[in-house]
């Protein structure tokens, strides 16, 4: 068991591709952390650097206060469950799991005990005599987990462990993995591009993009207080709407006006004071689809409503999804199932103003 500390880690591949840029991250002892990001964001490179399959270009990696940069993968006591499982094809399931113990010359009796222990935990005792190619994806995945766990590693790393499973199995394994981690109490890093996986399993989420760590925190923190426009747009489904705005003055109070003049919005006090402290000319207004209320008619009760036109509408049973054109932008709205919309109909959108996020127009950073 150990804390993992990444200190100004850089990874530049041959040919100059910068996979990871100045990554600073501490994964606490016993914590379950998810590295989340779109493909090519450097999350797998980070994982491979921790386990030792990829050289660290610069920076320091510590596992349990020991600098690991120059140590072989075998000396780090970090176990990796590969995305492709990477099982040993000619060996039986039992021998796959026992491989690392045999390589370390653990006594035969102990090998048997530990393999069976971990096989029971993952419910694969009945397939110990089989070969990998004869097994399904879920079983292979359990074997790769068993192989990583049997070593009793300090750090347990998982690279997209669920991405090759079907939906039902994935939901089941999410729960299993979470329980497993809670039971073993191991420091665990999960790499995934799927935010649902990250939310379901991890205590903290680290969001990466283009090799740069964007934000680390619990999912609630990241969801409710995204550090920048990328995080805000990447987290949450359907994704957040962004509208170009500029600050304006209305009766002496700071408000927002759309850059194309299609609407203006009064801001709640908290946001207004934030905005007053800064001098920005261009802003991006972020609002999640569930924080927009769409109706056929203006309510007329004094709330600011934005006029738009229905572009598409899909009814998904328990909710509807509406895309509306507001000026030159498109706004996604999650609607209640009671109201239906038709293409090209006029529609009035009311924003839950306390749920508005504001970002710098140029840098994308949150205000």
């Amino acid at each position: 068991m150990a804390e993992v500390r990444l200190d100004h880690i850089h990874k530049t591949y041959k040919g100059g591709v910068k996979a990871v840029v100045d990554l600073n991250l501490i994964i606490n002892d016993g914590e379950f952390l998810a590295l989340l990001g779109p493909s090519g964001c450097g999350k797998t490179s980070t994982l491979r650097m921790i386990v030792g399959l990829e050289e660290i270009t610069s920076g320091d990696l510590f596992i349990g206060n020991r600098r690991m940069n120059d140590l072989e993968p075998s000396e780090r006591n970090a176990a990796l469950a590969f995305e492709t499982y990477a099982l040993y094809p000619p060996l039986t399931v039992h021998d796959n799991i026992a491989f690392c113990l045999r390589a370390r010359q653990v006594p035969q009796a102990e090998i048997r005990r530990r393999v069976h222990e971990v096989a029971e935990m993952l419910e694969i005792t009945d397939i110990l005599g089989r070969k990998p190619a004869e097994l399904g994806g879920g079983q292979k995945q359990r074997i790769s987990l068993a192989r990583a766990l049997v070593r009793e590693p300090d750090v347990f790393l998982m690279d997209e462990p669920l991405s090759h499973l079907d939906a039902a199995l994935r939901a089941h394994m999410r729960v299993e993995l979470k329980r497993l981690q809670a039971r073993t109490g191991r420091t665990t890093v999960l790499v995934t591009h799927d935010q649902l996986e990250a939310v379901a399993m991890a205590e903290r989420v680290a969001v990466m993009n283009f090799g740069v760590l964007q934000q680390v925190g619990t999912f609630d923190e990241i969801y409710n207080h995204p550090a920048n426009e990328f995080v805000a747009g990447f987290i949450g489904e359907p994704p957040m709407n962004f509208l170009d705005c500029e600050p304006a003055s209305q009766n002496g109070e700071t408000s927002l006006r759309a850059s194309d003049g299609s609407f203006s919005v009064k801001l709640p006090g908290e946001l207004r004071s934030k905005l007053d402290k800064q001098t920005v000319s261009k802003l991006r207004l972020g609002i999640r689809p569930i924080d927009v209320i769409a109706s056929h008619q203006a309510s007329g009760n004094g709330v600011v409503e934005i006029a738009g036109q229905v572009y598409t509408y899909e009814s998904l049973g328990e909710e509807g999804q509406l895309a509306a054109h507001v000026g030159g932008s498109e706004v996604l709205v999650v609607t209640s199932p009671d109201v239906a919309f038709e293409r090209s109909q006029p529609v009035w959108l009311q924003l839950r103003t306390h749920r508005i996020h504001l970002f710098h127009g140029d840098t994308g950073a949150a205000l």
């Binding site: 386990v51 030792g52 399959l53 072989e72 993968p73 075998s74 000396e75 970090a78 176990a79 990796l80 590969f82 492709t84 499982y85 990477a86 099982l87 040993y88 094809p89 000619p90 060996l91 039986t92 021998d95 491989f99 690392c100 045999r102 390589a103 370390r104 089989r130 070969k131 990998p132 190619a133 004869e134 192989r147 070593r151």
Partner: protein, 313 residues
């Protein structure tokens, strides 16, 4: 409850008037198979004729085609040189194939990396295979020449005594096997390298993370996965060296004495040089059956090994 009886006529397709297709269409299957048939005849005919002649006492000097049964085979088995001939045929095949396999494995393992020098060396590997075997053997023969050849001075330079090479029985087999090894180790290395390159990287990375040493990984992972490729090398090289002719003939014509009289050399000398066609044929035919059954067995083994390497039991 009333059940409807189902009869065959319910499903019968209404009869259609059959139109005879044009001649070319009807003959097409045979025309497509024709080249294969021609080739088959080209292979089968000489074989059948060879077997037929082996049952006579035919010699070019006395063209007598009377049937004599298996007398030629009996003569072969009773020949005082038969056991030695069998031994030398197998010794040549086993040692040449074995050494090529081991050296090929070492070379392939060393070349299995992404460096520029590995790429250059890999390209030079095929050079020995681009020279006609007889030519390279003659060059080796010159190098082995005791008085002017270059090999003895090289041996002396590292403190080893001069050798008589293929001129004396003690080192004759070693000399021809050496040429065979020089000529065909690259073949083994290329096949094995192709095998190594075809492996997925994942399991080997997993082995590194699992803390397995090079040898442990090699024994438990690389070797089982490589077995199908090893068997391909064995199938090709073992079959080929069982019937090896050119190297031995160009080097010593089977000598000194009858030291290197393998089946193939004996068949050639008896049938062609001594012109006793029927007497030499049994060696060739027995060799054919040996190669046939050994290859059958090896190919079956190869199939099993392939399944096992892919992860089936």
């Amino acid at each position: 409850m009333a059940t409807k009886q189902v009869s065959a006529t319910d499903f019968a397709v209404p009869e259609q008037e059959t139109v005879k297709p044009p001649l070319l269409v009807r003959w097409r299957p045979f025309l497509i198979a024709l080249p294969a048939l021609v080739i088959l005849i080209g292979i089968l005919y000489p074989f059948v004729v060879g077997v037929a002649y082996s049952l006579t006492a035919y010699a070019f000097t006395r063209p007598n085609t009377d049937f004599v049964g298996l007398r030629q085979y009996q003569r072969m088995v009773e020949d005082s040189n038969f056991v030695y001939s069998t031994f030398i045929t197998l010794a040549y095949a086993v040692s040449a194939t074995g050494v090529q396999l081991v050296l090929g494995l070492i070379v392939a393992t060393l070349l299995n990396r992404d460096s520029r020098i590995a790429k250059v060396l890999q390209a030079t590997l095929i050079f020995p295979m681009m020279v006609a075997p007889v030519i390279s053997t003659l060059i080796w023969k010159m190098m082995m020449q005791p008085s002017v050849g270059i090999l003895n001075p090289m041996l002396n330079a590292v403190g080893l005594p001069s050798l008589q090479w293929a001129a004396v029985p003690e080192t004759a087999l070693f000399s021809v096997v050496l040429v065979d090894v020089w000529m065909y180790t690259p073949f083994a290395a290329l096949i094995l390298l192709a095998g190594l390159r075809s492996f997925p990287q994942g399991p080997f990375e997993a082995a590194r993370v699992d803390g397995a040493s090079f040898w442990f990984t090699f024994r438990n992972l690389t070797l089982p996965m490589l077995t199908p490729f090893i068997l391909i090398v064995v199938i090709f090289r073992f079959m080929d060296s069982l019937k090896m002719f050119d190297i031995i003939f160009a080097m010593t014509e089977g000598g000194p004495g009858s030291t290197l009289m393998t089946y193939q050399l004996t068949a050639y000398r008896t049938s062609i040089q001594f012109q006793k066609l029927a007497q030499g044929l049994p060696y060739a035919i027995v060799l054919y059956f040996v190669i046939y059954f050994v290859s059958q067995y090896l190919v079956k083994w190869w199939g099993r090994a392939q399944r096992r390497a892919a992860g089936y039991s």
